[in-house]
Symmetry: C2
DNA sequence: AGTTAGTGGAGAGAATCTCTCCGCTTCTGC
DNA sequence: GCAGAAGCGGAGAGATTCTCTCCACTAACT
């Protein structure tokens, strides 16, 4: 912990606030206590709703679930992209801190990976994903946060593999994309069969599959082996496409 | 196969057709070849769209993806429920046949389970789920189909456990609900990182977690242990609720 | 080749969603 | 406490999307 950058909330001066006081990008400059609390409620609700209904989910629903008026949501986040960006930043921040914490607390590299995945599941890292690619324009801040989360995760995995605790033929995508799958609520049935705990249970089973116990090779996994570099590549391609579309070269 | 009941298409007499020729519930009585083909295209498209966007997905989109006019969809399935019901029936039927086939082809009970899960993934069993509970009114036909699929699956699992090939503390829900999770396309990223193959890959990892190799207990799984009986119970409760709501006792 | 089941698409009406405006409430500094 | 300002909720206009029908045309069976 410690390096969290989410709600700066400098309680003395407020150097970062824009002169017009508009708090760009939904970031809290210096806000009243209730406003700050509502901002958090909105982010939490948005995270849940985006996961359930996708990034095009109605904003009304988010406000309703957060227990605030729709005007409050629009005041804090001027448009949908600002809100998505807020959710993504928050998720990235929390999980970056988690990687750090998990390394210190864990008994061994496998345990670290295991703990991280469980926390990521609770924090619904999935919410970051849909936005991660293709939805939100990545400025430097967001891109740094992304990179700052991806690399440590890959490192976590590599350490566990180096220690011989995780099978060597799995990769970044096998970790993250499974947690994202587990994040999503099961349709309908889910709510009646206690969803959250089931996801953790299934994660435990999956973790056993990741493990390399004594047996040397078991059997080989089919492609694709998805690495962090693959994500970076995709991100870059999308970014380029976006630039093309409405960016640099004006007719 | 052989016991398939999906498109009867008796090429001689057509005893099941309703006198008014309306083909109730979207079932094909005796149709022209192109109509039958379109019906199938619609079902496939509907399955995909329901999985991606949930059971409230716009019907326009389904028609578009099936490559037919919207009128064609409405002619075949008078309303949304009829369409959902059609998708569910089709999925149940295909998978019931699969259980049978898999038993015969498989090398051992674990292999049978493994094969079944992969086919279920390809057939997008997930499409059946959202409807399974809470969306569609279950008549006897649908309920029989459901039961006719659930029991064989549970049996498949029990056999593999009896043979000592699958850890004894997993249950029905650990099989089916994971396949359902894997069915759903990952948001955004997915399409760019070859989704379908990744799901099969992750399923293989999960299967390794289900396996009980030499080690006697590994570690215990957290609750909930979800059985087929749990599904039945939920289904019954929802059915009762539905009856209450607009059924027998008119205020 | 004639008959008829089947087809696509435009469009009316309904439902939903976005986003702003304005009067009221709650915090904060004194 | 009190004044002032920051924040709040919700109604509602306008735009968008979705449902479902009608009708002129096409292609499959006999």
């Amino acid at each position: 912990m410690g390096a969290a950058a989410d709600p700066p909330q400098t309680p003395g001066k407020t150097p970062g606030t824009t002169p017009d006081g508009s708090a760009p990008g939904g970031r809290p400059g210096r806000m009243r206590a209730d406003a700050l609390r509502n901002r958090r409620l909105i982010l939490d609700a948005a995270r849940d709703v985006f996961i359930e209904a996708g990034p095009d989910a109605p904003l009304d629903e988010i406000a309703r679930r957060a227990g605030v008026g729709i005007a409050t949501l629009y005041r804090r986040f001027p448009d949908r992209d600002a809100l998505i960006r807020g959710v993504v930043m928050h998720t990235f921040t929390v999980l970056s801190d988690t990687v750090q914490a998990v390394r210190e607390e864990a008994a061994d590299p496998f345990d670290a990976l295991r703990r991280f995945m469980h926390v990521a599941l609770d924090e619904k890292i999935g919410a970051a994903m849909p936005a991660l690619v293709g939805r939100v324009v990545f400025d430097d801040e967001l891109d740094n946060a992304r990179r700052g989360l991806g690399s440590p995760i890959e490192e976590l995995l590599r350490d566990a593999q180096a220690a011989g605790l995780v099978r060597p033929d799995v990769a970044f995508g096998d970790i993250t994309l499974m947690v994202i799958r587990l994040c999503r609520p099961l349709p309908a049935v889910a709510k009646l069969l206690v969803d959250d705990r089931l996801a953790h249970r299934q994660l435990d089973i999956y973790l056993d599959g990741l493990r390399s116990d004594g047996t040397p090779a078991r059997h080989s996994l089919p492609p694709p082996l998805v690495t962090l570099a693959d994500f970076d590549r995709i991100r870059a391609e999308l970014h380029a496409a976006h630039e093309d579309e409405n960016g640099s070269a004006p007719g």
